[in-house]
Symmetry: C2
DNA sequence: CCATATAGTTCTAAAACAGAACTGTCAAAT
DNA sequence: ATTTGACAGTTCTGTTTTAGAACTATATGG
């Protein structure tokens, strides 16, 4: 499967992974949320090769997750800032950080804490149901096909798997 | 930067990405949450090559995200089920799906809907503050170093970036 | 005229991945 | 008893991606 195919699958998760599902993209986005805006800033913070950084930034701009805006003329320079679509990735980032805080910390504890300005306290992110407000866990959720589902719905199998089915039949 | 180095960075996000931050791993985990348990199941659902699937499953087992348990003797066969550590990835999965539902759907609408058993309704996942229960957005959150932070904290720069600093100095 | 800052692009070698075929164990069918 | 098929991998070869380093371009300041 190619990256482009992923974005066309009838599965919101596959499509999202097609856009942000590689390690450098996720780390670049982490930097964005930590207020990094410029090429050199990303490069020195992450140690990513300049080549890949340029490519990933282009892709994020194409996807409408970052906007490239000039901050000076001569020489023309631009910085990268999150669009609303990009800001909406925040729950994904927080969910990833929180899992790491829970399962991947060493003796020294968490590298970063998060303070909620509204209530003033350090917090953990909690995922709740939009309808009843109760915290969610996998076992309390039932998945069923929506309007955009394909004909054989529960398994969002790819073109690749259909190809395989054909080759088995042959 | 190598994958192994990522897991040792003083950043919960980098560490988590070191474990689950590649496209196949994320898709395999999606299948796990959709109740797939067996090698052939993953393979035909995803169209992943058998080689990579075997490797990814091994890694997930090593990381304690999946457990490999026998379901029959002769021939010995195993299935892969999520541990608690694996189940705890659920908010990440839901956050990814929800972003895709919001920003990546086509005219036909969402491929999958989620129903909360407790309240019986189709829902969206919402991320809230553990302390005050209010929904979170990036701008309301202030990040500050925790006990596991390195000396120069806000920028969780890697060994790679330090190496770069040295080579610039030389 | 040289060094520095910024934002890239280009090159080569190494690593990861895709696609296909192959191995091994057993049960059921012929 | 031999063949077929299911299952869970492993091994091979060739392509794609990534790493690492050097190079380009535009401008400022000394």
């Amino acid at each position: 499967m190619k990256w482009k195919e992923l974005e066309e699958e009838p599965c919101s998760m596959a499509r999202t992974i097609g856009v942000i599902g590689d390690r450098w993209t996720l780390l670049i986005l982490r930097e964005c949320f930590l207020r990094t805006r410029r090429f050199e800033g990303f490069q020195s913070a992450l140690g990513i090769t300049r080549h890949l950084l340029a490519e990933r930034l282009k892709k994020l701009v194409r996807q409408g997750i970052l906007r490239r805006i000039p901050y000076q003329e001569s020489p023309k320079r631009h910085e990268y800032i999150l669009t609303q679509k990009g800001l909406d990735l925040y729950p994904i980032m927080m969910a990833i950080v929180h899992w790491g805080d829970t399962h991947m910390v060493d003796e020294r504890g968490r590298p970063l804490l998060h303070q909620h300005r509204k209530c003033g306290k350090d917090f953990d992110p909690v995922m709740v149901c939009s309808e009843c407000g109760e915290p969610l866990s996998a076992k309390e959720v039932h998945t069923h096909p929506g309007p955009g589902a394909r004909s054989t719905p529960p398994n969002p199998a790819s073109a690749a798997s259909k190809a395989k089915a054909r080759s088995r039949a042959a």
